[in-house]
């Protein structure tokens, strides 16, 4: 090894604490990059592979009833590579040991072979025997959440009749990666599932023998989806078809796409954020370290080493740190990625979701880390090699503190000498002070963000579950019912209040754009289910016209007064028109809203409702549930307390992991900035501090000069940190808002306090650690040395 290379290693060892700080901070940036980009890639790849391997449908259609023979006509449509006709429906489940009724989506399996579209991956057990009407497969999420074992029994009410079903297997399907009950936004894996059973048995249960009410299609590569959809609609029009649709209307895929969009936002934003900060810190530290190497640089040049060799010598140190940071960051990113993958695996039922970042991800991480380190050291190295050897060997001229403004002079004249030293150093080295302030402020900003997410979630939950949905349960019917159905519901045990509800799945067309959404009918002055906007105000449903959620209005490019075309997606596929009355800002969902009677009239079903919202006496909980488990006309029962609990658990787990990552990295950042600033400040001031000790100042008094500077910079970072955190938070909330949620920025005073406290705590800890250097100051040695 060349002597210069040995010097690189020894220098790194000598500055090991600063080196560790740089490697950790830069490594955090790399880890976030590997995790976010890798996670996004893993999910994308897993989805693609899963869809390909298990033949995810390209198109789907629901209809009332078509004879099985129609399948041939569908298969013959040009562009269709395979078609699977199925029987599908909803059923109430009475799960053993569960007080409330659950519900499930039932899907038929072909008599022979496996489904040619939307195939299943069997996790456990075996396929149902086509000759046994009581054998079913259950989706893995429901089985896991309820602890089902093979051979367990389920009681299900299908089409008004109670059946006892036996679980023979547990399966996953690309069609149900993300399982939510129709019309629900939050998954409740223990309360809503998917059951697959033999086609004949299911057809019998739904009075569809020799017929089907659902079909899914795979298209050949050259197919034009719009043309195929029109052909399918043509074939199925006589059979009550609701119109063929593609993946973006299939609930599971739609959710996945939304999630991947958020992940893409995160993959773009977070690593950039952390890496910019890391580059920044590397720059501060390296500039100071190399500045301290001034005389060595002069010496090397005096010996005859070329500028290039000297520059390369210092660049090597930076490169080694970049390699170290990449190694650390890659391992940390991989571990975090695996952690994230296991969290995602609970939401998204892929047969196997493994975190895997491509070699390209690691390579770009290395490239970015190296670029960061080189950029960080560049200015300092160039400045050093430009000096003539003699100048570099001579001690640097004493720092001039001469040019202070009059205001500063008058302010500093009121301070004691020690505080004046602090103030003058901060003002004299504005760039250095600013970088420390910015570094700490960014750490505060990250912590503010970490505190914002839970606060936003709390607000969202509060609005949705306390302000908007004040019912205990929503009961939805298999089809629209006369309003009189509220009377038998009133007579259920413990019922206190019943209000009607109505929801229609529709496609809204405007200005050449079409969006499928739910059109929700609301009762004016409702006491249970209400529309509450982001400002927590109750919005009354318009009696004439439609209220559009802002996200929906933007998608449709619609404003108040515009005429919308509304197409029912089920039943008679009615096409009707209504004007936009107003734009609203709900926090959950991006639906359209009308007064309930107006909606029923618009759908030409006056006086008919699709659900009831119920408040009942908690003391009668079990009696109420027993009664509804038997109710034949119910398609589902959505319990607010369960939905809230489930959403809370999901958020806590998801947000919990993210916050853990945020918090760890913010601490590393705050600690790294503060620690390296403290160490370098000590090194720079060692002589002055030792002089103060010699002059008779106590350790405490001398510590004040060192700690005071850091404390002042830390305090200066508070305001910019809070502003940065707030602005980034508001911007992120806008980015993360989608069809499902509109995230308001919530000012969380406690979160801000924690962020500021934590960051300043890191600064204080770093200052205290470095302060011990004052106890070890070599008074004699320092005084012998030249400036």
């Amino acid at each position: 090894m060349r002597v210069l290379d040995r010097k690189v290693l020894r220098d790194l060892w000598r500055m090991r604490i600063n080196v560790v700080a740089i490697v950790l901070v830069l490594g955090c940036g790399v880890a976030i990059l590997v995790m976010a980009v890798g996670m996004r890639g893993s999910l994308e790849r897993t989805r693609l592979n899963y869809y390909a391997a298990y033949k995810m449908a390209d198109l789907a259609v629901s209809l009332v009833r078509a004879p099985t023979s129609t399948a041939n006509a569908l298969a013959a449509i040009p562009g269709v590579s395979s078609v699977e006709t199925r029987v599908s429906g909803l059923a109430l489940l009475d799960l053993p040991g569960v007080r409330e009724p659950a519900s499930a989506h039932l899907v038929s399996l072909p008599r022979i072979g496996r489904p040619s579209v939307n195939d299943l991956s069997l996790a456990k057990g075996r396929w149902p025997d086509p000759d046994r009407a009581d054998e079913v497969l259950v989706n893995e999420a429901l089985a896991t959440a309820n602890g089902f074992q093979l051979g367990d029994e389920l009681a299900a009410t299908l089409h008004g009749q109670r059946h006892t079903l036996h679980i023979v297997g547990v399966a996953n399907s690309p069609e149900f990666v993300f399982v939510t009950a129709p019309g629900e936004i939050f998954p409740q894996q223990d309360r809503f599932g998917v059951l697959w059973m033999g086609e004949e048995a299911l057809a019998r249960a739904y009075d569809l023998e020799g017929a089907f009410n659902n079909a899914v299609f795979r298209l050949s590569p050259e197919a034009v989806p719009e043309r195929v959809k029109r052909a399918i609609d043509g074939v199925l029009a006589p059979y009550g078809s609701a119109g063929a649709y593609d993946r973006n209307r299939m609930p599971s895929d739609r959710f996945l796409t939304e999630e991947l969009g958020q992940l893409a936002t995160m993959a773009a934003f977070l690593p950039t954020f952390f890496i910019v900060i890391a580059a920044f810190l590397v720059n501060i530290s390296l500039t100071r370290i190399i500045a301290a190497e001034r005389s060595n640089i002069g010496l090397l040049k005096a010996f005859g080493y070329s500028d290039r060799t000297v520059a390369a010598h210092y660049a090597k140190g930076a490169l080694l740190m970049a390699v170290g940071a990449t190694a650390f960051g890659s391992v940390a990113g991989w571990l975090l990625g695996r952690m994230m993958a296991s969290v995602y695996q609970e939401y998204y039922r892929f047969p196997r979701l493994e975190f895997e970042a491509s070699a390209g991800v690691y390579a770009s991480a290395l490239g970015i880390a190296v670029a960061c380190a080189i950029a960080g050291s560049l200015t300092a190295v160039i400045a050093a090699v430009r000096l003539a050897p003699a100048a570099a060997l001579a001690p640097p001229p004493p720092t001039s503190f001469g040019s202070n403004s009059a205001m500063l002079r008058s302010f500093s004249s009121r301070l004691d000498a020690k505080s004046r030293i602090i103030l003058r150093r901060i003002v004299r080295f504005p760039r250095r002070s600013a970088t420390t302030v910015i570094g700490i402020s960014l750490a505060i900003a990250v912590l503010v963000l970490a505190g914002t997410f839970p606060a936003v979630m709390d607000r969202l939950m509060h609005v949705n579950f306390t302000e908007a949905n004040r019912q205990d349960v929503s009961l939805s019917f298999v089809d629209a019912r006369e309003i009189g159905v509220v009377h038998p519901v009133m007579n259920l045990p413990g019922v206190i209040l019943v209000e009607p509800g109505r929801a229609d799945r529709v496609i809204v067309h405007h200005a050449g754009k079409s969006v499928e959404e739910t059109l929700i009918g609301l009762l004016p002055d409702a006491r249970l289910s209400r529309l509450v906007d982001a400002r927590l105000e109750v919005v009354q449903p318009p009696v004439t016209g439609i209220a559009l959620a802002r996200a929906l209005a933007e998608k449709l490019n619609a404003s108040p007064g515009d005429l919308l075309e509304i197409e029912q997606t089920s039943g008679r596929r009615l096409i009707t028109h209504a004007r936009v009355a107003t734009i609203v800002d709900p926090m959950v969902g991006a639906s359209a809203y009308m007064e309930i009677d107006a909606l029923a009239r618009l759908m030409r079903e006056p006086g008919r409702i699709t659900s009831v919202n119920v408040r009942f006496d908690a003391a009668q909980y079990d009696r109420f549930n027993t009664a509804i488990k038997e109710a034949p006309a119910l398609a589902g029962a959505s319990f607010i307390n369960l939905a809230e609990r489930s959403m809370r658990e999901n958020f806590d787990r998801g947000v919990g992991v993210m916050n853990f990552i945020y918090l760890s990295f913010a601490s590393v950042m705050a600690g790294g900035v503060a620690f390296s600033a403290a160490r370098i400040t000590l090194a720079e001031q060692e002589r002055d501090l030792a002089t103060l000790r010699v002059l008779g100042f106590t350790r405490l008094e001398v510590s004040y000069v060192l700690v005071g500077e850091l404390a002042a910079l830390g305090l200066l970072a508070v305001v910019p940190g809070v502003i940065e955190g707030t602005l980034i938070g508001e911007w992120l909330m806008k980015l993360f808002s989608n069809d499902l949620y509109s995230f308001p920025y919530v000012f969380n005073a406690a979160g801000y306090a924690v962020a500021i406290g934590f960051a300043l705590g890191c600064v204080a800890t770093a200052a205290m650690l470095v302060r011990t250097g004052i106890d070890r100051l070599d008074m004699v040695g320092v005084l012998k040395a030249r400036d």
Partner: protein
């Protein structure tokens, strides 16, 4: 301030009384003896010059007498206090109240003006000389608000002298105060020191390797290899302007 037992204080009318002071760095075969069995007595208001080649132990002795370092063995009496038995806090207080230091490389705080460098010490002194007066004494009355970077080496050293005298110290310890200066500026600094010695009656210990500078002292203590080789009185103290080096 830490006060040691009064009985047995050997100083009497003396400022310092040193008994068998040894300073050893390291142990065993690697041990380096910087001072061996040094006995020395220093009288009040005396100007004592410690002379010797570098490495002879003179600065080590000055550091021990200034409370910056500790003797490995022996007694260092300052009045009736034994510096050798003082703890760290007591030594800090000793430096703070009694000792004025002047170093070869000035050791001013670069972020404070001349006046503020002096005020820095005044803030912790009991009855300090006003900073402007101290600077006036060393001939810097016109440069009160200059920062160290705006002053020449000689001026910086005179600020250091003003800083040392402002607390009206009982002792002034000067370690090669002219070591980094040319003759002309060096003479001005020495003039300031002599002035202080005569005007305030401070006991002054001046470390130098320059035999000519030694002519300033009442007595000259010659060092070699960690031992005092001789202590000689000067029959007549030279004036700084008579010196050459």
């Amino acid at each position: 301030m830490h006060v040691t037992e009064n009985s047995g204080s050997p100083t009497g009318e003396l400022t310092y009384a040193l008994r068998k002071v040894c300073k050893r760095y390291g142990d065993g075969t690697a041990a380096v003896h910087a001072l061996r069995d040094v006995d020395l007595e220093v009288k009040p208001a005396e100007m004592l010059v410690l002379l010797g080649p570098s490495g002879s132990g003179k600065s080590t002795l000055l550091n021990i007498m200034g409370g910056l370092d500790r003797a490995t063995s022996g007694e260092v009496w300052f009045g009736n206090e034994n510096l050798a038995s003082m703890n760290d806090d007591a030594l800090t207080q000793y430096r703070r109240k009694r000792v004025g230091f002047i170093f070869q490389f000035y050791n001013l705080i670069p972020s404070l003006t001349a006046r503020e460098n002096v005020e820095l010490v005044n803030e912790i002194a009991d009855d300090p000389l006003p900073a402007a007066e101290a600077l006036e004494l060393v001939g810097l009355g016109g440069r009160l608000d200059h920062f160290p970077a705006q002053l020449s080496g000689g001026e910086q050293q005179r600020v250091a002298v003003a800083r040392a005298i402002a607390k009206r110290p009982a002792i002034m310890l000067c370690d090669e105060p002219t070591g980094a200066l040319d003759v002309r500026t060096g003479v001005r600094v020495l003039e300031a020191l002599v002035e202080v010695n005569q005007r305030f009656g401070s006991t002054m210990l001046l470390v130098t390797h320059n035999a000519d500078v030694a002519r300033l002292g009442d007595r000259v203590v010659r060092f070699l290899d960690g031992r005092i080789r001789s202590i000689e009185p000067n029959s007549r103290r030279a004036a700084p302007s008579d010196l050459e080096w």
